[in-house]
């Protein structure tokens, strides 16, 4: 099998740069999720690899050979589309087989269609036309069509976007093993960070046409490269405060709403860094009724049950508002209660106020 390589790929539509110096390697058998807000250039990236349009600069290689300029049908790429893109005038069977007609005939064709549809649990609807299929069945048919030709590179454009929540949950569990069987290099586009974390070996975070971080899911969550990345991962999203950290008797501290909090000494170099964003995930906050020196006094504004947690909206003395996510077994407070908020020093992330990049990371590339 072959690896997929992007070398400094760039693409602009008029004045809009959809892809800016994108470099990425996907090994065979690896699943890389391309994650970013809508309009960040994810779909454009997939379409360049698939050959629907060509990059302005840079190169795209599959198995070491450039595929730029090659027609889509000769790139060895399988793709599943967000809107499924099934051929409406062909049965599910013919849709799936279309990917193989050029390569296999007769008995082999039928047996491979049968085996892939068994794998995807759509054997019973093979004779149906696309309009007779449920969204879930359409999506599985589209996946089968993309997988059947054993492509070297598999592109999945937000395949779970248009299916209902239950199915999305099931597919999140099912997809990784399914995709790994094919040993293709998989690029998986999604707008849902949880999906990316559940499915991918690595996540490539794309913001405004640039790859801002490529790393394993837990790494991105724990050590986001920038404020923007930190905000994209996590629901409710990360709490931020403007701080200027300084060292006091070997302790690194910062002031939030009038309270001095201790920070992780690993971030020592932040001491002379100047203005920063301090970020703490809602899950890392501890809310108590007892005051202590480094606990920030707050008032509960609202309590919202969310998933299996309760989310508290807190207001500090300076008027700034944070969110805290509490485990279900924590003693429930009620709105308007006065409480105290603490977090472990290593839970705090520091980002440069001007560039948004995380303090303490080696600066691989300066933001423009």
């Amino acid at each position: 099998m072959a690896r997929l390589e992007l070398n400094s790929v760039g693409k602009a539509f008029g004045a809009v740069r959809c892809a800016d110096d994108l470099s990425l390697v996907v090994e065979p058998g690896e699943i890389v999720a391309v994650f970013g807000p809508s309009g960040s250039g994810k779909t454009v990236l997939l379409r360049m690899i698939a050959g629907m349009f060509e990059p302005d600069d840079g190169d795209i290689l599959v198995g070491g050979r450039s595929i730029v300029g090659a027609p889509p049908e000769r790139r060895g790429i399988g793709m599943a589309f967000q809107n499924f893109a099934l051929f409406p005038h062909m049965s599910a069977q013919d849709n799936i087989a279309s990917g193989l007609r050029a390569k296999a005939k007769g008995g082999e064709l039928t047996s491979r269609v049968t085996s892939i549809s068994r794998l995807l649990k759509i054997e019973h609807v093979l004779g149906h036309m696309p309009r007779e299929l449920s969204n879930g069945q359409k999506q599985r048919t589209a996946l089968a069509r993309a997988l059947i030709g054993n492509p070297e590179v598999l592109l999945l454009d937000d395949p779970l976007r248009n299916v209902d929540a239950k199915l999305r949950y099931e597919m999140r569990l099912e997809l990784p093993s399914l995709l790994r069987r094919s040993s293709a290099a998989v690029l998986y586009v999604t707008q849902d960070y949880r999906e990316a974390m559940a499915i991918a070996d690595r996540i490539a975070v794309l913001i405004e046409g640039r790859l801002v971080q490529v790393a394993r899911p837990e790494e991105i969550y724990a050590r986001p490269a920038s404020v923007a990345v930190a905000r994209l991962f996590g629901d409710p999203s990360i709490n931020l405060a403007e701080v200027t950290p300084h060292t006091k008797q070997a302790d690194l501290t910062a002031e939030i709403a009038g309270t001095k909090v201790r920070l992780d000494p690993v971030d020592q170099q932040a001491a002379d860094h100047g203005p920063c964003w301090l970020g703490v995930r809602p899950d890392d906050l501890v809310v108590t009724r007892t005051a202590s020196e480094d606990a920030i006094p707050a008032r509960i504004v609202a309590i919202t049950p969310m998933h299996e947690r309760a989310v508290l909206l807190l207001r500090f003395a300076d008027g700034s508002e944070w969110l805290a996510a509490l485990p279900p077994d924590s003693p429930m407070a009620s709105a308007d209660d006065g409480v105290f908020v603490r977090f472990a020093p290593e839970a705090a992330l520091l980002f440069d106020r001007a560039t948004g990049l995380r303090v303490g990371l080696p600066h691989r590339r300066q933001a423009a």
Partner: protein, 285 residues
């Protein structure tokens, strides 16, 4: 509207009846005339009940018109044939030229394409004589005047804008991803065009073709200027026939019936697409 008053319902009923009488009466009346002898037609007051005769149709089909002044050759069946040949050929040519172009205009936004599409559209509304009169002089020099090909070629003025704009709309309604998917499955663009785009736009192509046929068939001025007697379609032929046959009103009525029957049948068959075709694809029925 379901709870309108009785007076309102009666008014609507009467109005609808009047409308139907006004628009249907001429067709019904001419149909009746075509089964009457001249003597029956000339009776005053006219009779609603009469003994129908097929003599008018027999005369037209045999091409022999017996009058008091002797036998008259009528080439009406040839006109009918010409209409079939000219309209079918024109539609086939227009489909051949128009469908690929419509596909190009729908899929690739390029300036030349837009210019062609809009030039053809705007000349759909230009006076036809403006193009036809100079063209008739060119045709004489090129030896194209009074040839089937020459007439089929100018019929493109009618058929091509229709096919181009209607079929273009159908192609635009097909998600490009469907074609991309087919190509990624290992097929060339030509296969994607013939196996995906064309079948999916099929109803639109058929509708545009049928409508083009109707409009070519109904055209009068193009053939009036460019065709001589043996190439003339029924529209021009019927007029010549009126002049030649003088007072053979039964045969004239039968000729009219024969001239309009094909288009009326086609129109009934394609009625689902008529609105779309009449508005060049801007309004869906």
């Amino acid at each position: 509207m379901d709870h309108s008053s009785l007076a309102g319902r009666i008014f609507r009923g009467v109005a609808l009846a009047l409308v139907l009488v006004f628009f249907m009466f001429p067709i019904v009346w001419i149909l009746m005339m075509s089964f009457q002898t001249n003597e029956q037609i000339l009776r005053i007051p006219p009779h609603i009940l009469f003994e129908p005769t097929l003599s008018n149709y027999q005369a037209l089909i045999s091409g022999q018109l017996r009058t008091t002044a002797g036998n008259l050759e009528i080439p009406f069946m040839r006109n009918l044939m010409n209409s079939f040949v000219l309209s079918s050929a024109a539609v086939l040519l227009a489909l051949l030229l128009g469908v690929p172009a419509a596909y190009a205009f729908a899929r690739f936004k390029f300036r030349l394409g837009e210019s062609i599409a809009f030039t053809l559209l705007s000349f759909r509304f230009a006076p036809p004589l403006l193009v036809l009169l100079p063209l008739s002089l060119y045709y004489q020099q090129l030896g194209l005047s009074d040839t089937y090909f020459g007439i089929v070629w100018v019929y493109q003025l009618i058929a091509l804008p229709l096919i181009l704009w209607i079929v273009r709309g159908y192609f635009e309604d097909i998600s490009p991803d469907i074609e991309h998917a087919y190509r990624l499955a290992g097929h060339s663009w030509r296969e994607a065009f013939t196996r995906i785009a064309v079948p999916l736009a099929g109803p639109g192509i058929a509708a545009a073709g049928l409508l083009s046929f109707i409009f070519c068939w109904n055209n009068f001025v193009f053939a009036l200027i460019l065709a001589s007697a043996d190439k003339q379609p029924v529209t021009v032929g019927a007029l010549a026939f009126v002049t030649a046959s003088g007072i053979q009103y039964g045969q004239i009525a039968a000729a009219i019936v024969l001239s309009v029957t094909p288009t009326l049948l086609l129109a009934l068959y394609a009625q689902r697409y008529l609105v779309e075709g009449l508005s060049l694809g801007a309004v869906k029925g």
